[in-house]
Subunit: 353 residues, 2 copies
């Protein structure tokens, strides 16, 4: 079941050494962006941001904590590692431009395995117009570690922070929520079944959509363009990596406001809904706490509502209130429940994946 | 012997969670640099580099591969992790300005232990005028992982690359070489002795200098200033992280040149020399292949020699030649030996530390 066994050719990392490996992994890179002055091959990358503000984000992804190679193909892993960082640039209303990768790998991984990871990174870079300007590969004694730094640009006046929502603003979310978590549940179920009977073939039929949301998420650069086309700038924005609950709490906490969201407004795909019920999980819980959807959560002023109401890819799910009103969800039955963060927390939910 | 046992108070990471931890570790940070627009607390850091080029570098440090917590105090580890990245900015003739930290830690580490790591990072940031603009802490199932991204600035005309050395240029090195490696050898010896007899007290007396070179290295920002004061700009530059041999090969390879270095010119501290002999290692080997000195290796044109010859902190060790002449060391006895990279290679020398 593991991708590690699929490689026909296996070149040991020790055969080519650290610098040889960097050469193999990064050969043929051509820089596309005007802001990329110098890429891989010196002590630093050199960038030119004379007309734009620089946005920088980084994430550290650790095997057995953030990903499970039993069901995560290496190419998808590279793609996802890149996209989750690109998503942070987009959540500032910026354009991703450069990426630097650091990989820690043990000799369990072959050169070809790391080339697979890089092929996913390259694909994401191509899809989002990003230059890979630095790559570093070091030895790890245990699992695979991927560290990604993404750099992007934005006009100062375009940048959208988390702490600038206003009372009365409408709360919007892009796409739909909870799908990535349901994809994970399916993968975990098949992993357990495979453990119990290694001859079993995984039953993933009919779950393409939610599996793709888990294994190959996309960052919503398209939403930024749709909003730009209407002339609307969000008042606050964040990407949904830890679940809607955690992210709305960030916006409320940092903007010193409350929020009222409506359960009936939460966009949940029909597949997510069906699979959640199959697992006896409330689909609303998936949307609130599932995480890894990489959709955008943003607020806009009420007067901008007319301009954006016909955009199909976004949905209004509530509004910002006074801080003293708290952060609440109005259920379908009309009762109010406090929203608390039960999303992904690295130290509390170690066995999540 | 381990710093992990020294903490009196121990707060479990799970008690405060990921966001609580980030708050504890990064409280009270004040941004100092004009280019730091927004630091920790949003999807990205926001920087302003309208008048300068942006330099970006990153390193991934993994426990048991790059550091050994048996003898590396956590505060020193944080300091060193920051400095080795700052050194990369300096090696481009730039000024370090911002840093983003990613830490992966298992529940073996307490909140107080991570505060120790951060206290070292903060000290390095203070000493080198760097703002910490992003910090991320995730769970790791095994060892400690530290990922550092450092961002700096330089005028385009000031940037010094590796591939721009010219034939006939003089090769200079700052400070002295091999000391960090000898510090490591002392620490390793005491670790082995401690393993054999846990009641033994480590014998580190008289080795302060080389221990500090290993445990608390500094980046040579002072050398850049000394050169600037004379009006001399190096033609090529790199910092010595993997040993002189590996670094001169990088400059030669990338500049498509050869080099002739002179053994008698290599600056080696008297302590390094004594300890090397105690371990029956040729001090020249320490200088060539020891690594982790974080001194600067640079080339300058011959006509600039008069301007820099009185700078005590640097030494001329050879000159650049045609590519066909190879990269050679002229020994004290006058014989020529090829310089080959035997420095730190993550995949070949796993048991180095």
């Amino acid at each position: 079941m593991s991708i590690l066994e699929e490689n026909i050719k296996r070149t040991e990392l020790s055969e080519i050494g650290e610098f040889g490996l960097i050469d193999v992994l990064t050969k043929g890179i051509k820089l596309q962006n005007k802001s990329s002055v110098r890429g891989i091959g010196d002590d630093c990358a050199v960038l030119n941001y004379e007309n734009q503000k620089v946005l920088v984000t980084k994430d550290l992804l650790i095997e057995s904590v953030h990903f499970d190679l039993t069901y995560m193909p290496l190419k998808h892993l590279g793609y996802k590692a890149a996209v989750v960082n690109i998503s942070d640039i987009i959540a500032m209303n910026g354009s991703p431009k450069q990426m630097i990768i650091g990989i820690g790998a043990s000799n369990r991984f072959s050169v070809e395995a790391l080339e697979e990871v890089y092929s996913g990174i390259f694909l994401a870079c191509k899809n989002y117009g990003v230059d890979l300007v630095g790559g570093d590969t070091v030895s790890s004694q245990s699992g695979l570690v991927i560290s990604v730094t993404c750099i992007g640009e934005a006009e100062e006046s375009d940048i959208v922070y988390r702490d600038t929502a206003k009372k009365g603003d409408l709360v919007f979310v892009s796409g739909n929520l909870g799908a990535a978590y349901m994809g994970l549940m399916i993968l975990e179920r098949e992993k357990q079944a495979f453990k119990a009977d290694p001859n079993m073939q995984p039953d993933l039929a009919g779950h393409d959509y939610i599996l793709e949301r888990q294994l190959k998420p996309e960052a919503r650069m398209d939403i930024l363009q749709l909003l730009k086309d209407t002339g609307v700038k969000p008042t606050a924005m964040i990407d949904i990596s830890d679940g809607l609950a955690s992210e709305i709490l960030h916006i409320c906490h940092q903007s010193k406001l409350g929020a009222t969201l409506y359960e009936e407004k939460l966009p949940i795909d029909v597949t997510t809904d069906l699979v959640a019920k199959e697992f006896s999980i409330d689909p609303t819980t998936c949307a609130l706490n599932g995480g890894e959807d990489y959709e955008l959560l943003f607020t806009i002023s009420q007067e901008d509502y007319e301009k954006v109401k016909d955009i199909k890819e976004i949905a209004a799910i509530g509004h910002m209130t006074e801080e003293s009103s708290g952060v609440v969800l109005v259920s379908r039955s009309g009762t109010q429940v406090d929203i608390t963060a039960q999303g992904w927390d690295a130290f509390l939910k170690k066995d999540r994946q």
